[in-house]
């Protein structure tokens, strides 16, 4: 029997960065919010035994329980999708704080070019720069419009960094100075400068000095402990929802956090949502939570899946190119070029976003007239803190087991370091999300089906950026420089990148997008869908800064909507508007 609960103003599905920001902003404004989170609660105290590579980085202790729910995957619409039975190419978080609890902390802001990519590409390179299968489109918002929300996110998160010489439109300083540097990062900076490039310190959520944010939450100084990404921080020095927006929301007394609550559907009458159904994952009991406003903050997979399961919005069909839910699924193309050095450095010391980066080959910062791709990626050297089970880099030709492997992987543990990129991923007609016809989750609902393959564009961009990474490593004096090839087809097994985006995208036209620029659904006024699921493409930077900015903007939108019902944005001239 389903138990119906008392109605609330707002319910959020998932309590990570997006859910936490909504809860804190609405809570501060006096709005009653219930946050439903499928995982458990956790705080800094949960991470006293966290320096355990096996538990967290091999067995993925903090990640989604795939026995309950996973995705299915195929490379193209002609294949039968099969379940992702174990984690591989990307990880998905769970629990209060979401993946924000164990992210690295690279805190970026997308470029003006990203938000108007279609207009600007057409203008500079003509309408035929890309084949028409690539569904790039403007985001329905400009960088200048989003900038105040980036500021809110960074001030809340205490981001440590310095200005990017190639992003002059930003003049605002970071709340805290850049992190300490290391000899390796200094060498990277010097080499890049010698090559005429413009390196600067990676904007980071591993906070460089104690910082109290405008909500009164204090972050401690990062200790460079080397167990950061995939781990929680035992110092409260990593900016996570758990030490910022969630305690802020709870402090308002307007936010109720309900854990072990897995949402399985959204109730609606075709025009408006009326609430959500959830299952208590510990007892199996079912509940209906009525709400005036439903906010999906459950990450890319769940955001799109809950809409499809609940029959909200028109599903995308790759054959006709019509529909929007599931469309423009994107990823991050990740060149990895490893430098092997003769001398040792302190490779075990580091932090999740301790790095130096450059933007010379990102956005439209270089001329693409003679290149057969657009955009690019930030190029970064990071000193994460190496850990021994996973880190066994050895020069090519070394077997991956046996005597020589042992010798080389030990020799190079403190003598190798990669330069990597977050390579832009453009939407392609055949890369999309839909419901699986066969496989079900623990509650009997269809799994999300991912249809995805690397595109020609990905390969070109990857190879170009890899060469640039290699040039820097050569200039650094690396003894050997080795590039990882991009597999011909995307493979669900080897770790590649954790940033999966799209599926419920924002835009200016309801024919080609699901959300307006407040992340309010065009098709259902009282549903807001927040996350990287809203990205029409994935730019050359890590996504979360932009997720945070969009969440702050959506919070403002929700407050406006509470004042005055209806669409917050007028759709661009389209047949439906």
């Amino acid at each position: 029997m389903v138990k119906t609960l008392d109605k609330v103003d707002v319910v959020t599905v998932g309590v990570g960065w997006a859910g936490g920001i909504i809860a804190s902003e609405l809570g501060k404004a006096g709005v009653k919010v219930v946050g439903l989170e499928r995982g458990e609660n956790r705080s800094t105290e949960d991470f006293q035994m966290v320096h355990d590579e096996y538990r967290y980085a091999i067995r993925y202790d903090l990640m989604q329980d795939l026995s309950k729910e996973t995705i299915t995957f195929r490379n193209n619409p002609g294949e039968t999708a099969l379940p992702m039975r174990q984690f591989g190419a990307f990880l998905i978080g769970t629990g209060v704080g979401g993946a924000g609890t164990h992210w690295n902390g690279d805190t970026w802001f997308f470029s003006p070019y990203d938000f108007e990519i279609k207009t600007m590409t057409d203008k500079k390179y003509g309408k035929n720069k890309l084949p028409k299968e690539y569904l790039i489109q403007d985001w329905g918002i400009t960088y200048d419009e989003l900038e105040p929300y980036y500021e809110k996110f960074e001030k809340m998160a205490g981001t440590s960094g310095e200005l990017n010489p190639l992003r002059p439109e930003r003049t605002r300083d970071y709340p805290t100075p850049p992190m300490k540097s290391t000899p390796m990062l200094d060498r990277f900076e010097k080499a890049a400068t010698n090559l005429g490039l413009h390196p600067f310190r990676l904007p980071s959520a591993n906070i460089s000095e104690a910082y109290t944010n405008p909500d009164g939450q204090t972050l401690n100084q990062c200790q460079y402990c080397g167990f950061c990404e995939k781990f929680g921080c035992e110092y409260g020095a990593k900016s996570t929802p758990n030490v910022t927006v969630i305690p802020t929301a709870l402090k308002t007394n307007n936010f109720e956090l309900r854990t072990h609550a897995n949402v399985v559907g959204i109730h609606h009458d075709g025009k408006r949502a009326t609430g959500v159904r959830y299952v208590d994952v510990q007892t199996g009991e079912e509940f209906d939570q009525p709400a005036d406003i439903v906010v999906l903050t459950s990450y890319t997979v769940s955001n799109a899946r809950l809409l499809l399961l609940s029959d909200i919005g028109k599903p995308y069909d790759p054959n006709t190119g019509t529909g929007v839910i599931g469309k423009n699924y994107c990823y991050h193309i990740t060149p990895v070029v490893t430098g092997f050095f003769k001398d040792k450095f302190n490779a075990s010391m580091g932090a999740g976003s301790l790095g130096t980066t450059l933007d010379d080959f990102n956005n439209d910062n270089f001329d693409h007239s003679d290149l057969d791709f657009i955009h690019g990626g930030s190029i970064t050297m990071k000193q994460l803190g190496k850990r021994p089970i996973n880190e066994n880099a050895a020069p090519k030709g070394t077997p991956n087991w046996g005597k020589e492997f042992k010798q080389k992987s030990i020799e190079y543990f403190n003598r190798s370091i990669p330069v990597t990129s977050q390579g832009t991923s453009l939407p392609h007609r055949n890369n999309y999300l839909s419901l699986d016809p066969t496989y079900k989750d623990a509650y009997g609902n269809p799994l999300m089906r991912l249809t995805y393959d690397f595109t020609e564009h990905d390969h070109k961009l990857h190879d170009f950026i890899s060469e640039r990474c290699a040039e820097i490593l050569h200039e650094m004096g690396a003894d050997k420089v080795e590039t990882r090839d991009l597999m011909e087809h995307f493979d669900i097994v080897p770790a590649h990148n954790d940033h999966i985006t799209g599926g419920v995208i924002m835009g200016e036209d309801p024919e080609t997008s699901a959300l307006n620029n407040y992340l309010q659904m065009w098709d259902m006024d009282n549903v807001f869908v927040i996350g990287a699921s809203a990205f029409p493409h994935n730019g050359g930077y890590n996504p979360t800064g932009t997720v945070g900015a969009l969440a702050y903007r959506a919070a403002e939108g929700i407050l406006k909507f509470k004042e005055k019902d209806g669409q917050l944005v007028k759709a661009k001239d389209s047949s439906r508007a």
């Binding site: 035994m49 355990d52 174990q86 460079y224 302190n346 803190g385 089970i389 543990f413 669900i492």
Partner: protein, 249 residues
């Protein structure tokens, strides 16, 4: 494979043959050390008091998963070829990796906890990942039997009695997916065995491998340090005595 790998290595062969007795508890850590004849990794016995649970004679050096000693010996021999004892220091056996794997197979790892195990099952393409109905512990058991079968068929003797290079040939066949196994590829089994071995070599000693933190010492990895804020900017490489998680309790 390197030339080095093909060179016969009698001392190691003897070592691996003897390794079978580890299961029976006949060889203690100290004896192993002298058998291998190098003390590189043993330089700091002070940090490994008698009572440590990571000494080879500690109580957790018994079998939780494997029922037959022989299976454990085959597993042990295979891990030692993946991560052999050499001039850098101990191999998988001396580090306790086989016990680590045994214990892991008895728990969540062996039983595919937190993995999607519902059907229907079909093989899939090369890009769709693991698709077998078998649990990991079943794959290890089947893989060990298949190693023994390969050995008997090709050399007429048990895997544990083979020369190191013969064992390597068999393992290579598994890695190259050239051994038939039911419902799972031999390459997948090999990959799991390799990762499990490295985990047993390098995971925190709390799991029963990485004895005396010698896996870490070889890699000059300091284990679980609380903070590097004082050292992070150092131009020099800093030698740091490793610290295990038990020091955090």
């Amino acid at each position: 494979m390197s030339d080095e790998k093909k060179a016969p290595d009698l001392s190691r062969r003897k070592f691996i043959k003897n390794s079978g007795y580890v299961a029976g508890g006949a060889i203690g850590g100290g004896i192993l050390t002298s058998l291998i004849g190098t003390s590189v990794w043993n330089g700091d016995q002070k940090t490994a008091p008698e009572t440590t649970t990571n000494n080879a004679d500690s109580y957790n050096r018994a079998l939780m998963y494997f029922r037959r000693r022989k299976d454990f010996e085959i597993l042990s021999a295979a891990t030692e070829r993946i991560f052999p004892e050499d001039e850098n220091g101990p191999g998988a056996i001396a580090l306790g990796a086989p016990y680590f794997i045994d214990h892991q197979l008895a728990g969540g790892f062996g039983n595919n906890e937190k993995e999607y195990t519902r059907g229907p099952f079909s093989e899939g393409t090369d890009y769709q990942g693991y698709q077998s109905p078998l649990k990991r512990h079943e794959i290890f058991s089947a893989g060990i039997q298949a190693m023994e079968r390969e050995s008997q068929e090709n050399y007429g003797t048990s895997f544990v009695d083979l020369e190191g290079e013969q064992q390597d040939k068999i393992l290579q066949k598994f890695q190259d997916n050239k051994v038939k196994m039911k419902h799972v590829s031999s390459a997948y089994f090999f990959d799991q065995l390799r990762t499990a071995t490295l985990s047993g070599v390098y995971a925190d000693p709390l799991y029963g491998g990485n004895a005396n933190m010698d896996g870490w010492r070889m890699k000059e990895f300091p284990g679980s340090q609380m903070s590097y804020i004082q050292q992070i900017e150092s131009e020099e490489f800093i030698d740091i005595e490793p610290s295990p998680l038990k020091d955090h309790l």
